[in-house]
């Protein structure tokens, strides 16, 4: 096995060097991608150093440490694979539209007072908006930049690095998330103790463990990103989330029983957004969005499962909205208060107002507005 691992390390070293060679030189690299290329080179160098250490360090030649050697090798190769498939692919396949989406993301970050360096944006995504926080790469679907109703998702993705990156400007934000997680953990731990004392419902106890795990590992992160989006963009974020749910949701009340899910149920995300809209002073808009949300659920005949309220206690959703509000304020970001939205937030909120005035005619207005906006952002 040691011989095999040395061969595998040699192969990985060769691949890492080949990957580095795929990064275009200055004459072929879009200016917006320079930070990404620098980051990729640095990450590849770190991986190469790690592989050489595993190969050459005498302690890792000791058969007693072979498990650790294999574990470290797997980890480095996993990181290289992510670099290859996301970062190098984005750099190597850059598209003319990337220039505009980088201007757009830069303008959003400036408008909201984003507290860290903006990510590099790419139209590479084959699925939906997503971000690789550690590399500073935000991917969006190719056509999305020509439309307005889902631009809100950029704001959600900008939330992820605030949680993941180690940066002094983010301490207070993460502190609020940590306090919330501790509260959620305490809530479910108390519920588990209660059920263990008073019932023989082992199935319920197991589900409570699953939900506690989901909240701490994944859900609180997704909620905080949603709420970051709402507080910095305003009602357009909630409209956009409703729009996405209409397109993709099979059951807005779906809660896991055994398996961990990456996202909380859509109903809970909308309810958290409603709490946040009220905190931000958008009571009227909240009422309008809530009415449409109820109409959608009724049309689709979604019904709440018996476990839903146990998995998603409203007290946690209310606290989430408050905790994220404090967290976003602590970042020093520009909040989208009523009447005080920046130009991009105002445009995205106006888009929803126009949409509801006359949904059938919206595309015509939208194309005109996107064209004007692209011209203005290029000359800015």
């Amino acid at each position: 096995m040691l011989d095999y691992l040395d061969g595998a390390i040699a192969e990985a070293l060769s691949k890492a060097r080949a990957m580095k060679a795929k990064i275009p030189g200055a004459s072929h690299l879009l200016q917006d991608f320079e930070p990404l290329a620098m980051r990729a080179e640095s990450e590849i160098d770190t991986a190469i150093d790690g592989l050489l250490f595993l190969r050459d360090e005498p302690a890792y030649r000791d058969p007693a440490n072979i498990k650790q050697k294999a574990s470290e090798y797997r980890q480095i190769v996993g990181g290289l694979s992510m670099l290859e498939n996301a970062v190098i692919a984005a750099i190597a396949r850059s598209h003319p539209d990337d220039t505009y989406v980088n201007q757009l993301v830069r303008a959003i970050c400036r408008e909201i007072g984003y507290p860290i360096r903006k990510p590099v944006a790419s139209c590479l995504s084959r699925t939906y908006y997503h971000i690789y926080s550690e590399y500073g790469l935000l991917c969006m679907p190719l056509l999305e930049s020509d439309f307005l109703l889902h631009i809100a998702d950029i704001y959600h993705e900008l939330g992820h690095p605030l949680i993941q990156l180690d940066h002094p400007n983010l301490e207070a934000f993460k502190h609020e998330l940590g306090k919330f997680n501790a509260l959620a953990k305490r809530h479910f731990t108390e519920q588990i103790a209660l059920y263990e004392r008073n019932t023989s419902r082992q199935d319920m106890i197991e589900m409570l463990y699953v939900w506690r795990f989901c909240w701490i590992l994944k859900w609180s992160v997704e909620f905080f990103c949603d709420l970051f989006g709402l507080y910095t963009l305003g009602p357009a974020y909630a409209w956009s989330n409703l729009h996405l749910c209409v397109k993709t949701s099979n059951d807005v009340y779906d809660v896991p029983h055994f398996e961990v899910t990456s996202h909380p149920p859509d109903e809970s995300r909308m309810q958290a957004l409603f709490h946040a809209l009220n905190l931000l002073g958008y009571q009227d808009e909240c009422g309008q969005i809530e009415a449409k949300w109820e109409e959608f659920k009724s049309t689709m005949q979604f019904t709440k499962q018996a476990e839903y309220d146990h998995a998603i206690p409203d007290v946690l959703l209310e606290q989430l909205a408050v905790s994220a509000f404090e967290a976003v304020k602590a970042l020093g970001c520009q909040l989208a208060w009523p009447g005080k939205q920046g130009p991009i937030a105002a445009m995205l909120n106006e888009a929803w107002a126009i949409f509801w005035q006359n949904p059938a005619n919206f595309p015509e207005w939208e194309q005109q507005r996107v064209t004007e906006f692209k011209i203005s952002i290029r000359s800015a």
């Binding site: 360090e57 005498p58 302690a59 890792y60 000791d62 007693a64 440490n65 498990k67 650790q68 574990s71 470290e72 797997r74 980890q75 996993g78 990181g79 694979s81 992510m82 498939n85 699925t127 939906y128 908006y129 997503h130 971000i131 690789y132 926080s133 550690e134 993705e157 992820h160 949680i163 993941q164 993460k174 502190h175 998330l177 940590g178 306090k179 997680n181 501790a182 953990k185 463990y209 506690r212 795990f213 701490i216 590992l217 994944k218 992160v221 997704e222 990103c225 996405l244 993709t248 990456s262 996202h263």
Partner: protein, 123 residues
């Protein structure tokens, strides 16, 4: 609603702490790579924070949740397991039993690390 953002976070956090523990195990077992005092203190501090229910650092809360869930699935008591590990590490115990307990933790993190990578790649 991509799964990538949240899974890159899990991938990064589990990877970082797996490496720290792996390196500690290797240096404990090897004459060639002695444990330095700073690394020893870092590992002890890590497990003290993981076993602290009041901890409010999100990455540590994540690790704690992963380890607890894994230990429960093996019908082990997370609190007792972690308390004993902290005691042994604090005493500088480098016995095979302690190193094996650390390997149990690495295995739990490794599983989540691999799962996160698979989800990032859309598998």
């Amino acid at each position: 609603m991509s799964k990538i953002g949240v899974n890159t976070n899990i991938f990064q956090v589990t990877g970082k702490y797996m490496s720290l523990i792996n390196e500690y195990i290797v240096s404990r077992r090897s004459q060639a790579m002695p444990v330095d005092a700073r690394k020893q203190a870092e590992v002890v501090s890590l497990f003290k924070r993981i076993s602290d229910d009041q901890n409010i650092e999100p990455p540590i809360q994540m690790l704690s949740a992963i380890i607890e869930r894994d230990l429960r699935s093996q019908r082990r008591q997370p609190k007792q397991f972690l308390r004993k590990l902290v005691d042994n590490l604090s005493k500088g115990d480098g016995s095979e039993e302690t190193l094996h307990e650390l390997e149990v933790v690495v295995q739990a993190l490794d599983t989540k690390h691999s799962e996160a990578l698979a989800k990032i790649k859309g598998e």
